[in-house]
């Protein structure tokens, strides 16, 4: 006869995907009920810790645990790719934003620089701490990306949670200060864009998940090894041998939109920046 406690455990086990329940449910129920008195079973409940451990197992088994069916493996792979590229995007946005802001403030005279510094120090201790944390912590998106690429999962999880933290401040600020929330839709979306990747990193890069893998090439871009090698620009244009005849005259006009020289040149040194539309193959 099924007791109330057994029914409660089975309800908790419904968090697990069906393939996992089919394989393990009876065995797990046996473990749960092993040393519980038959007479006291109706007064007991699964503890919070037991529910939490099953919830964690449910996340792992849905995001490509070992031996998972194909659809769970695909889902896990999709979540991991989303997490990786969302982290990369956040890191790129934050780094470029902060570099641009510092460059602008440092090159527009002392007044702009003072204005920049006042943003950190001008309004008392709490806003100063918040401003410094809001400046420093988002840089951890970069740490998260490189930690994922180098398969340092614990570091990636810690870094991404810290990096996403400042996005909550605009939501909390009206509760602890007298300032009203400005642009609520924007700050909510901002927090969502930070915490979705953060949660995806924490859930999908679990211990049993395969390591993060960069794709061999991004659409319209050369492959990753090609980007890092000195010969990268010569690979991004069609080979010359395709069009027989004399080489085309040197032109000062930018290449067509189909050529990838422009983004590639932006990533190179000062010489490339002087002629950003030309690469060595053009």
């Amino acid at each position: 006869m099924t007791t109330l406690l057994e029914a409660r455990y089975r309800t908790v086990l419904r968090l697990l995907p069906s393939y996992y329940r089919e394989a393990r449910e009876e065995e797990m129920v046996e473990v749960y009920l092993w040393d519980v008195d038959q007479e006291t079973q109706d007064q007991s409940r699964p503890t919070l810790g037991e529910v939490a451990s099953i919830a964690a197992l449910a996340v792992r088994s849905r995001l490509a645990a070992t031996g998972a069916p194909r659809r769970y493996a695909l889902f896990g792979s999709a979540v991991r790719n989303f997490a990786l590229y969302a982290v990369l995007l956040q890191a790129a946005v934050i780094v470029s934003d902060e570099v641009l802001r510092v460059t602008w403030s440092a090159t527009r005279g002392p007044r702009e620089w003072d204005l920049f510094l006042t943003g950190f120090t001008g309004s008392g201790p709490l806003p100063t701490v918040v401003a410094i944390a809001g400046w420093v912590l988002p840089l951890l998106w970069t740490v998260t990306f490189f930690a994922l690429v180098h398969d340092r999962r614990r570091l990636a999880r810690a870094a991404v949670l810290l990096a996403a933290l400042p996005s909550l401040w605009p939501l909390i600020e009206p509760l602890v200060t007298e300032w009203p929330m400005s642009a609520p839709y924007f700050v909510t979306a901002n927090a969502l864009f930070a915490w979705l990747p953060a949660l995806a990193v924490c859930a999908a890069y679990h211990r049993d998940a395969p390591p993060a893998a960069l794709p061999p090439a991004l659409p319209g871009w050369p492959s990753w090894p090609a980007v890092s090698s000195p010969a990268a620009p010569s690979r991004c244009c069609p080979p010359r041998s395709i069009s027989p005849g004399p080489p085309p005259p040197a032109s000062s006009s930018p290449p067509s939109a189909g050529c990838c020289c422009v983004p590639a040149a932006r990533n190179r040194g000062p010489a490339a920046r002087r002629r950003p539309w030309r690469c060595s193959a053009c």
């Binding site: 393990r24 797990m28 046996e30 473990v31 749960y32 040393d35 099953i54 197992l57 070992t66």
Partner: protein, 120 residues
Amino acid sequence: MTQAAFFVLTALADEPRHGYGILREVEDLSDGAVQLRVGTLYGVLDRLTADELIVLDREEVQQGRLRRYYRLTDEGMRALDAEAERMAAGASAAKRRIAEGRKAGGTPPVTGPGLAGGLA
């Protein structure tokens, strides 16, 4: 190898055990320091099975309930042995250092000039 995986392998080193038996054995082996929850235990069992360190030994049905017994594979025994050697080497190195520290009077050796001597 995680602490949980190490204790699960250790629990299975002498004989095949089922899930509840592994939980109790891990608790005994660690003097109560490691108390695995069922979700954690099955996560570890999944990983060890996938790594071919343990296999299903047999199944029994008792009072309408399923018990699965797991046992170590040869690979699992080798992995446990290697991990135990590694831990023993670390423990003996720690003991050696502690003994050396006690002999030296409990103060760590000074490896560079201190502030008093270096700046004088």
